[in-house]
Symmetry: C2
Subunit: 436 residues, 2 copies
C-alpha cells in the first residue's frame, strides 16, 4: 500500500495519508531506497477495489492509488539504479499488452523491470471485466502457465543485435533477426512479433507469490524471485527446501530462483521503544477494520456471528482464490491457539507476513538466522508506515546488516538482474540455432 | 514515429535513428516543446507491427518503439506543463484498464493527460489478440461508443472532494462520495468503482481522429480534440463546418471540440532552402518503401502489377479499416491527376497530411489562412525528422506566429484542458443530484 503495510499505517502522525495520488511521495521513497542500495521497489496490485466491505473500506487507505506500470515508469525517469517491480494479473490481461508494457519499462529504466505474475483472487475484479465470478483456481493457473510462455516468447521477438541503424543504406534493422511467435494455444492465439526491441535484461525479472501446488509448479518452471508469507523459521525452511527441490525437474539450479519472505519490521533504539512503536500502531486499528481484514484473509467468510474472544470456527471452507493465505491464517489459529480478536490484530499488522520488532541487533539476528538456515535468500521488507518505517529500517537496521557483511555497501551492477545475481537469459531462437 | 513523420526521416543526418528505445531522446524533445509552449506531445500507437510487408519494413523506423502510456508516464516526471496525449485502442483493450491508466497518468502529470480514442485498422493487431481478423467497422464503432461511456463513467467513480485523510477519526474518505458504475451494456459489464481518485482534469482530454460517418458521430458526442488529415483549405473548411455542425444535436457548443489538422512543415530561411531540405528528404525514400506505404494507405492493395508512371486503377475496393485514408488518397489521385509514382512520394512525406514548405512567413501565411477561415482551431505539427525538424519549427516558425499574436508567449494554465481552452467537466452524479 502507498501508505505502508500496516492497515492503520496511514494514521501514523508522520505517514503521507495522500500517498496514493502523490508522485513526489513515491519519488522520494524510491530515491531514498536507491541511495540505501535496495534491490528493488515493489508495487502489489489488483484491478478492483477488493476485499473490504463498504462499511470498513473508508477507514483504510487501500481503495485508491496509482496504476503500477505508469507509476513505475515515472519513477524510472527519476532514479538510476533501483529495480522496479509491479504486479500484473494473468487472469485480467492479454499477454501482448503485458509483454509490451514490461519491455517498455525495462527500456525506460535501462534494465530494471520485474513482473510479479499473479492470477488475482476476487470476484470484484471479475466484475470489472464483464465476468460474474472469478475463474476457478485450476483454470486460472492453466491460463497463467500459457500466459507466461507467450510473454517470454514475445520478449524474444527481436534478437539483441537486430537494430543496425544504417542510414547510408537505409537499413534500420536486420530482417533475419526479427521473429514471429505464431503461438497457438488453448487460451491464446498470438502471432507477434512484439513491436518493441528485446528488453535490456533479455527478459524482465519474473516474480511470483502463489504458494499453492499449482502456484509452486508455475514458480519452479518460470519464476526467478518468490515473495512468500512465512511465520516461522521452520515453516520458511520447509517452503524453501520444497520449492528449490522442484527446480531440477525443470532443468534449473537452485540459484536461479531467489526466495524472499516478507518481513514487517518495527525497529527501536531499545526493545522497549520498538514495543511502544508497535503497540501505538496496533492501537490505531479500528476493531471493525481488523475483523474485516481477517474475514478477507479467509476468503470473505462472515465472522460477525462468532464471539471475538473465542476460537475460529473449525468448519471453514477453503476459498476459490488466495488459498495459501487461508491456510496460513487457519494454521496460525490452530498452532498458536489464537482467538478471533488476536487473529484480527495479527493479520492487521502485516497481512500474514512475518512481523518482528526489536532493536537493530535483535532484528538482524533473526534475519541472519533465516538467511543462514536456508529459509530465505533475502527479504521483501514491508515498512509498517511510510515514509518513516522505511527511514527507520535504513537508518537503524542497514548499518547493522552492513557491519555483518549481509548488505551491499553500494550497487555493483546497473540492472535488477545484476542486483539479484540472476543471469541474463539468452535469446531462445538464437540458442536453439546454435545447438542445432 | 519516434524518428519523425517522414518515412525516411530516420535517415536524416541529424535524426536519432535509435529514438524508439531512447528515453533521453524523448525527454529532450518534451522539454524542448515545453520550453516553446506547445499544448501537448502526442504519441500515435498500434498494438502490432503494422502496414508493411516483410521486405519493406526493415527500411523504415516504424517497427519498434516504446509503449506510449509507460513512455508518457516517464515524461510526466521530467516535465511540468506540456500535455501528454497517447493513443489507446477500444478494439483491443478493456475499458477498466484504459480508464485507470489515463487517470493514473493524469495524476502523475498534475492534469496533463489526453486519450486518443481509436478503433485500430489492421488484421496484424487482431492476430496478437486471439482473433483471426480485424472486426468490422460498424462493430468496432458500436464497441467504441460503449467503451468511451464506460471509461468516462469510471473516471467519475470518486467525487473530487471524496478524500478526507482524517487521521484522528480514522476516516480516509467519505463513503457517500464513492460510486459504483454498474454498467450493463452490449459489449461490457463493468461494476466499478475505479481504484484511483478522480483525475485532476475531471476527465483526461478525449481526442479522436476517425473521419468516417461513425467516427464523426462518436467525435461529435464525446471528443474534445480532433486530429484530421486535410489536403486543401476547402476540404478542411468543409470538414470543420460539418463536424462542428453535428455538435448541437448532442447539446454541445462549437468551442467544446477543437479541430486540429495535421501539418507537415519543411521550413527554410529562404524558399529555396526549404525546397532543398524537402527534396533531400524525398531523395532518402527507397522506391520500394514508397510503394509499400501507398499500398498501406489503400488498405493493403497490391500495386506491383501497375506501371509506376501510370494512374491508380479505378476499380479499387474500399478497405474494412482506415476508410478515410483510402478516400483521401484516391481523391488526391483523381483531383490532381497523380501517377502512382507521384502518389508514393506524396504519401511518403506526411502520410496523407498537409505538407507545406517555405519560409517562416510563407508557412505562417498558410496556417493563419486556415485558422482565420474556420478550417482549423490549431494544428498538430508533425516534424519531418527529429529532433531537427522540431527545432526548425521552434526557431523559425514560432517567432513569426508570435509576432502575429497567433501563439502564446508562455503557458497561462497548468493542465492540458487549460492550454486548450476546454472546460473541466463536472462530476456527472453530483450534477444530476444538483439538478434533481
Amino acid at each position: 500500500m502507498a501508505t505502508g503495510h500496516h492497515v492503520a499505517g496511514w494514521r501514523h502522525p508522520d505517514a503521507h495519508a495522500d500517498a496514493g495520488r502523490s508522485l513526489s511521495h513515491y519519488a522520494a521513497l524510491a530515491r531514498r531506497a536507491e541511495a540505501a542500495g535496495f534491490d528493488a521497489l515493489f508495487l502489489a496490485d489488483g484491478v478492483a477495489i477488493r476485499g473490504m466491505d463498504d462499511a470498513t473500506l473508508p477507514h483504510t487507505a487501500r481503495a485508491a492509488t496509482f496504476e503500477p506500470l505508469t507509476l513505475l515508469s515515472a519513477l524510472a525517469a527519476v532514479t538510476q539504479r533501483i529495480g522496479l517491480v509491479a504486479t500484473a494479473s494473468t487472469t485480467y490481461n492479454e499477454p501482448y499488452h503485458v509483454a509490451r508494457k514490461f519491455a517498455s519499462l525495462d527500456h525506460l529504466s535501462g534494465g530494471r523491470a520485474g513482473w510479479n505474475v499473479v492470477t488475482s483472487w476476487s470476484d470484484a475484479e471479475a466484475r470489472n471485466f464483464s465476468l460474474d465470478r472469478h475463474p476457478e483456481h485450476a483454470d486460472r493457473y492453466a491460463r497463467a502457465e500459457e500466459f507466461v510462455d507467450v510473454v517470454t516468447g514475445l520478449w524474444d521477438s527481436w534478437e539483441d543485435d537486430a537494430f543496425l541503424y544504417d542510414k547510408a543504406n537505409g537499413v534500420h534493422f536486420d530482417a533475419s533477426k526479427l521473429h514471429r511467435l505464431d503461438h497457438h494455444g488453448r487460451h491464446f492465439q498470438v502471432r507477434g512479433p512484439l513491436n518493441i526491441a528485446r528488453p535490456p535484461q533479455g527478459h524482465p525479472v519474473i516474480v511470483q507469490a502463489g504458494s499453492s501446488e499449482a502456484g509452486q509448479e508455475l514458480a519452479a518452471r518460470t519464476a526467478e524471485v518468490i515473495f512468500t508469507a512465512q511465520q516461522s523459521l521452520e515453516g520458511a525452511q520447509a517452503f524453501y527446501r520444497g520449492l528449490k527441490g522442484r527446480l531440477a525437474r525443470f532443468g534449473r539450479t537452485p540459484d536461479q530462483l531467489k526466495i524472499l519472505p516478507g518481513v514487517f519490521p518495527v525497529v527501536g533504539r531499545s526493545a522497549a521503544e520498538a514495543e511502544e512503536k508497535f503497540e501505538a500502531l496496533q492501537d490505531l486499528i479500528l476493531p471493525s477494520v481488523g475483523l474485516a481484514l481477517l474475514s478477507q484473509h479467509l476468503g470473505g467468510i462472515d465472522l460477525s456471528g462468532y464471539p471475538l474472544d473465542g476460537p475460529l470456527p473449525d468448519n471453514l471452507q477453503e476459498p476459490n482464490g488466495a488459498k495459501s493465505r487461508f491456510q496460513l491464517v487457519t494454521g496460525l489459529a490452530r498452532e498458536e491457539g489464537l482467538t478471533i480478536r488476536q487473529l484480527c490484530r495479527r493479520v492487521a499488522t502485516a497481512r500474514g507476513h512475518w512481523s518482528i520488532h526489536g532493536t537493530p541487533a535483535q532484528i538482524v539476528d533473526q534475519l541472519q538466522a533465516w538467511f543462514e538456515a536456508e529459509a530465505a535468500d533475502g527479504f521483501n521488507v514491508m515498512p509498517p508506515w511510510l515514509p518513516g518505517g522505511l527511514d527507520d529500517f535504513i537508518e537503524l537496521v542497514l548499518p547493522e546488516l552492513r557491519r555483518r557483511g549481509l548488505f551491499r555497501e553500494q550497487y555493483t551492477g546497473t540492472t535488477l538482474r545484476e542486483h539479484l545475481g540472476l543471469v541474463r537469459p539468452g535469446h531462445l531462437r538464437r540458442e536453439r540455432a546454435r545447438s542445432a
